[in-house]
């Protein structure tokens, strides 16, 4: 089995993914935000809060993030990154 390139590349890819996934963090740039609140509409764990005086959205609960990437994909202003 060790000779099988697909199995080996599968393992290596998996280890790489493991390293990346564990460390991913949301980077939010409030200056780019125009307040469409798609992130709020799609976040399944409630990281985003829409209130706050004068602010459009707050990334309030970073510890809840499961790195699913929904807010990153749905933000029309590319104000959110997952790195």
């Amino acid at each position: 089995m060790g000779e099988n390139p697909s199995l080996q590349s599968t393992m290596m890819e998996h280890l790489k993914l493991a390293r990346v996934l564990g460390a991913l963090e949301i980077r939010f740039d409030p200056d780019k935000c125009k307040g469409v609140r798609q992130c709020y509409a799609v976040c399944p764990v409630g990281c985003w809060t829409p209130d706050g005086e004068g602010r459009k959205i707050i990334f309030q609960y970073p510890e809840r993030c499961i790195a699913c990437g929904a807010c990153v994909l749905q933000c029309p202003e590319h104000a959110i990154e997952l790195r």
């Binding site: 890819e13 998996h14 509409a41 699913c68």
Partner: protein, 539 residues
């Protein structure tokens, strides 16, 4: 562990090429050479739908054609890019990642002299086949031609049984070695004629089971288009539903996944004003959606192709995308059925389905519905307003029990089958430990200390070892080597059960995040299991 298995299921391009070569008994390459030699002329503008790893693309460019190759799979395209970029014909080839079903909107009308597609149509649902053919008719310049090579179920009554007999073991072997399989078309010439082409057969291989269709636009649209609605969906408890549920309870990660044919379905008695709910085509997903709304509201359910996977996982894995939803909108002709332009998508596909792409390409509005289908009636009653509870995932006991059953099914196969075959006397105690630990974990999961599966595995291991010690003290004294084996065994079971459930929990990052550590612990346990008896002189 389960994710490693899932990863293995994903084919890589090299495997795919190998698998296809086996399934077509080596006849695909001569077929491709024939296409390039006989149908491609200098300066032709060619669209190749599903260029895969680019074998035919190169051949056609080599004959002087200018080829636009599209494929839905980025890995395949990557392989094609490697091959073509290094060759002399690179300037005559453009590769783009695209679903076949969206070509109509991505290329200008009448912009190709030849459209070629090998082994793509057999992978598409019937609605999508129709939609792509219609788009091809519009993309062909006057005098242009469509070529489709695909596997076909032979029509000859004598050849058909031979075909089935040869094909079954071939399909099984090929899938096991390369995770590649294909389906076969039937009555494709009729479909071509209905889409407005004059069908012909350019070549026939393998007793008529691999055919090259030539299709020239007939110059007129055929009369009588089929009604867009694929059928009615009702919530019914049937024997099939029960059997599928039972299978899915334990073995849902093992393909083939039970699927629903993509298309537009009616639930209740929907009118043109009724909402359009989009979902994936995993059988369980569709049935649970219908169960939540049937009898409570009238709606259109637009089932998009998610490769038979639930929407969240399919979107995360790249199987459920904006292209798939756009394809469903286009090929279902939902526009002719309703008088509004609002799609309601499951919130949990937002990690992979780009809502802005759908809005831009179709002009339809995209609304993110609730996480759970059960909240849809309330969500619609509130004019598509979600409460915070509707947008949040939970992991209640019922879901935990269901997900633990999936790990039990997977580990059951992995552990209990070999135990049954080789150490039958141990089957009962090992099965009891596996089931006991797994379901115990499902129940106490929220109260165990630790934020992720790995941390939670520590209290679970301690509890398991305490259970073992109690058993030992209650007068079932075992000799030291046996206690040792059991201790290592339950530690491993508890560790992997806890780590595994993380991948099934919606509240934690994927299990993959821990995978490297899981591997280390697994190896360490194996080392202990091997070395301690040697050191103690038990072996």
């Amino acid at each position: 562990m389960a994710t490693v298995f899932m990863k293995w299921l994903e084919q890589n391009p090299r495997d795919y090429d190998r698998g296809i070569r086996w399934l077509t008994l080596g006849q695909l390459d001569p077929l491709k050479e024939k296409i390039a030699r006989e149908y491609v002329r200098e300066g032709m503008r060619i669209l190749e739908i599903g260029c895969g790893t680019g074998t035919l693309t190169m051949l056609m460019a080599g004959q002087g054609g200018t080829v636009s190759g599209i494929d839905a799979s980025p890995t395949m395209l990557g392989e094609a890019q490697k091959k073509i970029g290094a060759s002399a014909v690179g300037d005559h080839v453009t590769l783009t990642q695209m679903d076949a079903t969206v070509i109509g909107g991505r290329f200008p009308p009448e912009s190709f002299d030849l459209i070629v597609s090998t082994l793509v149509f057999s992978e598409l649902p019937l609605e999508d086949q129709r939609c792509v053919l219609k788009a091809c008719a519009g993309l062909l310049a006057p005098g242009g031609r469509l070529l489709i090579a695909d596997e076909v179920i032979p029509s000859h009554p004598l050849i058909r049984p031979v075909y089935s007999l040869v094909r079954l073991p071939l399909v099984l072997l090929t899938w096991l070695m390369t995770r590649t399989t294909t389906h076969s078309l039937s009555d494709f010439d009729i479909l071509l004629a209905r889409a407005g082409f004059r069908p012909g057969i350019g070549a026939s291989f393998l007793g008529g089971s691999l055919i090259l269709y030539t299709a020239d636009p007939a110059g007129r649209t055929p009369p009588g288009t089929e009604p867009p609605v694929a059928g009615h969906l009702r919530h019914r408890i049937t024997l099939r539903a029960i059997l599928v549920d039972l299978w899915a309870l334990f073995f849902r990660i093992i393909p083939p996944y039970p699927k629903v044919r993509p298309g537009l379905y009616a639930v209740g008695n929907p009118t043109p004003d009724s909402p359009v709910l989009v979902t994936g085509n995993f059988d369980l997903t569709v049935r649970r959606l219908v169960q939540s709304i049937d009898g409570r509201l009238d709606a259109w359910v637009l089932v998009a192709d998610s490769s038979g996977i639930n929407v969240w996982c399919a979107a995360g894995g790249g199987y459920f995308t904006a292209d798939k939803v756009i394809a469903a909108v286009r090929s279902s002709d939902v526009e002719k059925v309703v008088n509004h332009h609002a799609l309601i998508l499951p919130q949990l596909c937002a990690n992979g389905v780009d809502g802005w792409r759908i809005r831009k390409e179709t002009g339809w509005g995209v609304h993110w519905g609730p996480v759970r289908a059960a909240d849809i009636p309330a969500y619609l009653a509130a004019n598509r307003k979600k409460t915070d509870a509707m947008r949040r995932v939970r992991f209640p006991l019922k879901d935990r029990l269901e997900m633990v059953s999936v790990t039990v099914g997977f580990y059951g196969l992995l552990i209990l089958v070999p135990v049954f075959l080789f150490w039958r006397s141990l089957l009962l105690p090992i099965a009891a430990s596996l089931l006991g630990l797994s379901y115990f974990y499902a129940v106490v999961h929220p109260w165990l200390a630790g934020r992720d599966g790995l941390q939670k595995s520590i209290p679970l291991i301690l509890i398991a070892l305490a259970g073992l010690a109690t058993y030992q003290m209650l007068g079932n004294a075992m000799p030291a080597p046996q206690i040792f084996h059991w201790a290592v065994g339950v530690t491993g079971l508890a560790f992997f059960t806890a780590a595994e459930l993380q991948g099934m929990s919606p509240l934690m990052r994927g299990e993959q995040a821990n995978w490297s550590r899981e591997a280390v612990v697994g190896l360490a346990l194996f080392g202990i299991y091997w070395l301690v008896p040697l050191a103690a002189g038990w072996r």
